[in-house]
């Protein structure tokens, strides 16, 4: 039992536990905070794989910016406790079997495919070839420049759309 091995299970358990909390919590703000915890636990897992840049950006963007906006909106609207409805028939009868089937499918794929095997082996120990920030930016701005720019334009359009929708009510 090495330290990274134990730490992996600690953070993995935190991530899964917080994800379950996210669904079960009745206060919207508790759900939002559980999501923050999931993000932070995932960042810790990235860190253990040697991806320091991705890990830090994960926390800055998701936990530090996106989720703060979520929390801000929940606070601003002063949203109350969620109301529970009865499950739909579909979810009631097909939900649990489907979830178990998907879980086993994923586990089976991980155990047998080539990519799955490397993922499973790499999860315990930090990879030796840690991606430096310089390599990452070279990849991002040379090899994958077109997808990067396309994503930027997509986000710009989304911002404009949000502005147009928000403006409608005030006229």
């Amino acid at each position: 039992m090495s330290i990274p091995f134990i730490m992996f299970f600690v953070f993995a358990l935190v991530a899964v536990g917080a994800a379950i909390m996210l669904i079960l919590a009745r206060e919207p703000i508790h759900s939002a905070l559980s999501l923050v915890l999931v993000m932070v636990a995932l960042a810790a897992l990235y860190l253990m794989l040697g991806a320091e840049f991705i890990s830090a950006v994960q926390v800055i963007v998701y936990a530090g910016a996106v989720m703060v906006l979520f929390v801000f909106v929940i606070m601003l609207l002063n949203a109350g406790v969620e109301e529970r409805t009865n499950f739909s028939h579909m979810a009631k009868y097909a939900g649990l079997p489907l979830a178990i089937f998907l879980l086993f499918g994923l586990a089976h794929w991980m155990a047998h495919s080539a990519i799955g095997a490397t993922v499973a082996n790499g999860a315990g120990a930090p990879s030796q070839a840690a991606v430096s920030t310089r390599e990452l930016s070279t990849m991002l701005f040379q090899k994958y420049l077109f997808p990067f720019e396309a994503t930027s334009i997509l986000i710009l359009i989304a911002i404009l759309g949000a502005l147009v929708l928000a403006k409608k009510g005030t006229e």
Binding site: L33, A56, A63, F72, T133
Partner: protein, 403 residues
């Protein structure tokens, strides 16, 4: 024991953390004394005076007072978050200090090479931003979980303010990153080594080429740490106490300590990015400068001794005599041949941090609080474009200089 023997880094880190925590706690306590004293003197008052000589025991008295006050938990509050948020605020404020290098990359203590930093992370700057960006939750959740309208307004204001100013804070730093080409604090500092080509007496600190960036950084940092003139989340004239209205006793003290902790972190970061960190402004060939810390402390001990004999009476005289002996003893320790080169880095680093913190306190005692709409339009319409322009100008400069 075998496990510990195989991982000596655990023991070394633990020792570093304990020392850092001890120093930090003392610094936090005496920062409040320093701030009250400086503001008082700027405003022609005396400040803390009666508890101990020159009010030096005031932080201790404050601490005891906080401990003995009734620890209220509101019945309508969200219990878990109400208790969690002061812990979150304080622990995150203190975690960032683990990334700050206080001295050169390798120093020799008893012949053993070591680093004067708890964690030398490759992407140190990003990590620091990651931790501070989660720090918003401490304040925002304190405001929400108290279930009180003043707290909620304070929490809302703080989260809006921190999101807005975080953007220009991050952008103002990118110029420095472009110049240094690294996220690592030690590499950023080492890049500032030496002197300007045509002005050989001015050190090559980033503050000179990046003066616009530094101004944007400092203004956004004041807003990020919720300090005057941007202390709207706790504006007592309109919100009673803002997000910490409903907190009492030690939970309130924790918010207080978190605020000072953030102030120290931000000042350390300014020192690293813009003022050359632990680099000395004097040329390296002047080896006598390693005796500066010791001689400085001995001189201040001499002045304190004069003050003790001349101005103090009764118990105050004994208290100040103890401080004098401490200063003199540490001064003599710093003059030892094995210690002198080690303390030189921390001496310059802490000196620069002290100067920036003084500037912080000066700002607070001078400027009135801004209005909320002024704060928002200032952040988005002035600070953000200026830091973007600074970034573009720096990038152009680098492309022209090194095509």
């Amino acid at each position: 024991m075998e496990f510990v023997a195989q991982h000596p880094i655990l023991v070394v880190s633990l020792v570093k953390i304990v020392v850092l925590l001890f120093v930090l706690m003392t610094a936090l306590a005496y920062l409040s004394w320093f701030e009250r004293k400086v503001i008082a003197h700027i405003q022609s008052r005396w400040g803390p005076y009666y508890v101990g000589a020159h009010g030096l025991l005031q932080p201790l008295a404050d601490g005891v007072k906080f401990l003995f006050k009734e620890d209220l938990t509101l019945p309508a509050a969200d219990k878990v978050l109400y208790i969690l948020s002061p812990f979150l605020a304080l622990s995150l404020a203190m975690t960032t200090l683990a990334l700050i290098p206080f001295g050169p990359a390798t120093v020799y203590i008893f012949g053993q090479p070591t680093q004067l930093v708890v964690a030398n992370v490759d992407v140190g700057l990003l990590f620091l931003f990651a931790i501070t960006s989660i720090g918003v939750y401490g304040v925002a959740l304190a405001g929400w979980s108290s279930n009180s309208k003043y707290s909620l307004l304070g929490g809302l204001r703080s989260s809006a303010q921190m999101i807005s100013y975080e953007v220009s804070l991050t952008l103002s730093v990118v110029g420095v990153l472009l110049l240094a080409g690294s996220f690592n604090f030690n590499e950023i500092i080492e890049h500032q080594q030496g002197y300007f080509q045509y002005l050989p007496f001015i050190p090559r600190w980033n503050v000179f080429p990046q003066i616009v960036g530094f101004m944007c950084y400092f203004i956004s940092a004041i807003a990020e740490t919720n300090r005057a003139p941007f202390d709207l989340p706790e504006g007592e004239t309109e919100l009673v106490g803002g997000f910490h209205t409903e907190y009492s006793s030690f939970k309130f003290a924790m918010f207080f300590m978190a605020e000072y902790g953030n102030m120290i972190t931000v000042s350390c970061l300014a020192t690293i990015l813009f003022f050359g960190g632990w680099l000395s402004p004097l040329p390296d060939s002047w080896t006598w400068q390693q005796y500066l810390p010791g001689v400085g402390l001995l001189l201040s001990a001499l002045y304190l001794a004069y003050d003790t004999v001349r101005n103090m009476r009764g118990i105050g005289r004994i208290q100040l005599a103890v401080v004098t002996l401490l200063a003199g003893g540490i001064g003599l320790l710093c003059l030892l041949p094995g210690v002198a080169p080690v303390v030189l880095g921390p001496f310059w680093f802490l000196g620069k941090v002290f100067f920036i913190i003084f500037f912080y306190v000066w700002t607070r005692s001078t400027l009135p609080r801004m209005r909320y709409d002024q704060l928002m339009s200032f952040g988005w319409k002035l600070l953000l474009p200026v830091s973007l322009l600074n970034l573009v100008a720096t990038a152009l400069w680098i492309v022209v200089r090194h095509p």
